[in-house]
Symmetry: none
Subunit: 414 residues, 2 copies
């Protein structure tokens, strides 16, 4: 089965927002073995949206429309679909009620505008909206089909996972299955990684049982995506498992996670395994590490909290930093120890450095010290490490610092 994607919104054509929805949907389609040969972006223009829909249906078996289902006047995806299928839009009383209830439940007045979302072409049916007010649409066109989902990513993802993909799979019938697995690595340059993996890639080129793609992901490290296609899930899973083992034997501890497992997740797992709690002292990173740690469900099992000691006075008063220079090995160590005892944790980590735009204590932008402190049964383990990141923007320096320190902790906890 072939499906195309059409992202709708003038703001996309003006480059004011990035179309991440098509990318995400593409991945889902690939995973279920559906081919996607064309994708397009079109503005909030009735004729051009209709043209895009017709074009896609002329080439493929289905089209997924993303965006233009909101309550405002420039949300005209419903109208475009009606034009393509040659039907009038008609209001659905049940949907009107649902939308009223949505607002009532939040003690909010329902703007009349929102009633536009209760309209659909007669032959279409709604995809239930569970995150907002705009329902999606599934509109059969002879043997083909038009799907419409909102442009708000969280709403789009929910509907695509819950309704669109299952409907496509049931229509496509074919049992062909594509599975993929991502190994997340930290510690290699892309070329070094490529050299290490090269022999394995050559084997695969002969066997053709799977493909391996490199996805350089900046401060998230380099991802290795293994993709295998087969008649059924079991066969594909077997190949993926085999390839994963092969790659792990080459990459060892540099693999920190699989698929959606983040570095903070890996750190959390190791802390729980050791029964340690964590405290963080953040100067340079200003709370970034903490906010990433708490993004792990169940973080309260191992995370005590942190002190963001942005001002020097906070370093001194709350963390007992005595070091003259606050961007230094001593300061990093004092911060890690200080936060560990202040919060009563077994593990303390710290960051201090120069994020820019200005240099500090005559140290260039990108100079970073991290500290690490673990209360082991055999005594206190402490370590400090300096990084000199290419002076990029503040956000990049912070992200690189955060993952570098979490990776260091991960390795020391194993």
């Amino acid at each position: 089965m072939r499906v195309e994607i059409v992202a709708i919104g003038t703001e996309l054509l003006l480059g004011q927002i990035q179309d991440t929805n098509s990318t995400w949907i593409s991945e889902r389609l690939a995973e279920v073995g559906v081919d996607c040969h064309f994708q397009s972006k079109v503005g909030d223009n009735l004729e051009r949206i209709a043209e895009s829909i017709r074009r896609s249906l002329s080439r493929a078996d289905g089209v997924i429309l993303c965006g233009g289902l909101g309550p405002t006047q420039d949300d005209i995806t419903r109208e475009a679909i009606a034009q393509v299928v040659g039907e009038e839009l008609e209001v659905d009383p049940e949907m009107v009620e649902k939308i009223r209830v949505f607002f009532a439940a939040r003690n909010r007045q329902m703007p009349e505008n929102n009633l536009r979302q209760a309209y659909k072409p007669r032959s279409a049916y709604f995809i239930e909206q569970r995150k907002g007010t705009a329902p999606g649409l599934i509109c059969p066109v002879g043997p083909k089909v038009i799907y419409a989902v909102p442009g708000v990513p969280v709403e789009m993802r929910d509907m695509v996972e819950r309704s669109v993909i299952p409907d496509i799979v049931s229509r496509s019938g074919t049992a062909s299955y594509i599975g993929s697995r991502v190994l997340r690595t930290w510690g290699f340059s892309e070329s070094a990684l490529a050299e290490l993996v090269a022999p394995r890639l050559e084997l695969l080129e002969d066997s053709r049982r799977a493909t391996i793609a490199f996805l350089a992901s900046g401060a998230e490290g380099i991802k290795l995506r293994i993709t295998a296609k087969g008649d059924d899930r079991e066969k594909v899973e077997l190949i993926l498992k085999d390839e994963e083992e092969g790659l792990r034997s080459i990459l060892g501890e540099n693999v920190f996670g699989v698929d959606d497992e983040t570095m903070e997740y890996a750190v959390g797992e190791r802390l729980k395994a050791k029964g340690f709690t964590l405290a963080v002292a953040e100067s340079l990173t200003g709370g970034l590490i903490s906010s990433r740690i708490v993004s792990v469900p169940g973080a309260s099992q191992f995370f005590k909290g942190s002190v963001v000691s942005y001002a020097t006075s906070v370093k001194r008063n709350l963390l007992g930093v005595s070091s003259e220079e606050v961007v230094s090995k001593q300061a990093a160590l004092e911060m890690a120890k200080g936060v560990m005892s202040a919060l009563g944790a077994e593990v303390g980590i710290s960051t201090t450095g120069v994020a820019g735009p200005d240099s500090q204590e005559d140290q260039p932008v990108g100079t970073v010290w991290v500290g690490l402190c673990i209360a082991r049964a055999d005594g206190l383990f402490t370590e400090a490490k300096e990084f000199k990141f290419p002076s990029g923007d503040r956000a990049t320096i912070r992200s690189l610092t955060a993952i570098s320190l979490m990776d260091l902790l991960r390795r020391r906890l194993s």
Copy 2:
């Protein structure tokens, strides 16, 4: 003049990499007043690339092809262009020499593959490559034109700015200029905002001097984009200024920023204006607010730091929270006061609540209390506010809490 963009690469259709190039090019086109009505993505397939080029040329005056100029066998953009213009590819001896020199200068052996990059249709001419080896192409087709640039962003951007845009501008002749301005709002639902602005939209529909678009941006609020087109920059700036004033008179304090101005930026500006410093106590948000505050350059002028009191013990020991229940009005107020005095700031804010997945103290997921404490000349101002967010994912609840609290602080500081 109308130009379309075609991003080329199977990895784009598989969702393995995000097409940021089209977005970037779109912005450049808008800046010079060139309309872009359609954009598309197509894989490394000769027939389908050629079809995309023909389709674009049938609708627009030019098309920019992005990607597929590399040295490998699946880089076939050159071949597709040749097919569309009905010419053979011919090698350009000068370009062969240039590519040899590129490698020699880096003491690298030139793979024979790279010579493919020295080929072009007879009637096309090269765009000099200054960052890598693949030259770009400008290929006139009657009165229309095909541009081809590499998919590597740094190479693409250099060629588009240096050659493609200037060529488009000289072809389009018209000096027409498009400018836009984004007003960022917090406090409205999209439809409520639409109703408020409706009268103004109607006026614009008659005058046609500008357009206003709504960009619902989740936890960043709703953006109103004003776009105006005119003969020159001055005229356009005047219209934008006028429209901004008109909208501000309707939306008042709900407008917190313009273009790239974030809520944390707005908060920072008001703190600096008052000469106040800020301390943050984060439980629910776990460092998110702090990391957003420090993303503002110069944050050290007003930001002291924060205490992420994830564990109850930290709330009690570092912030002096005595309240039995930690998700409560009293706890929020105690946290705000506690962090204010512990860090020696004039302003303290706090968050406590239930991010899920499990409920806490019998309170449902999405229950949030925020606290606010300002040491004014006329005494201590304190305020607490409860939010009940639809129990979504943890990240959404945290983002909504962060911006809601920063917005509250912004309003109280004015």
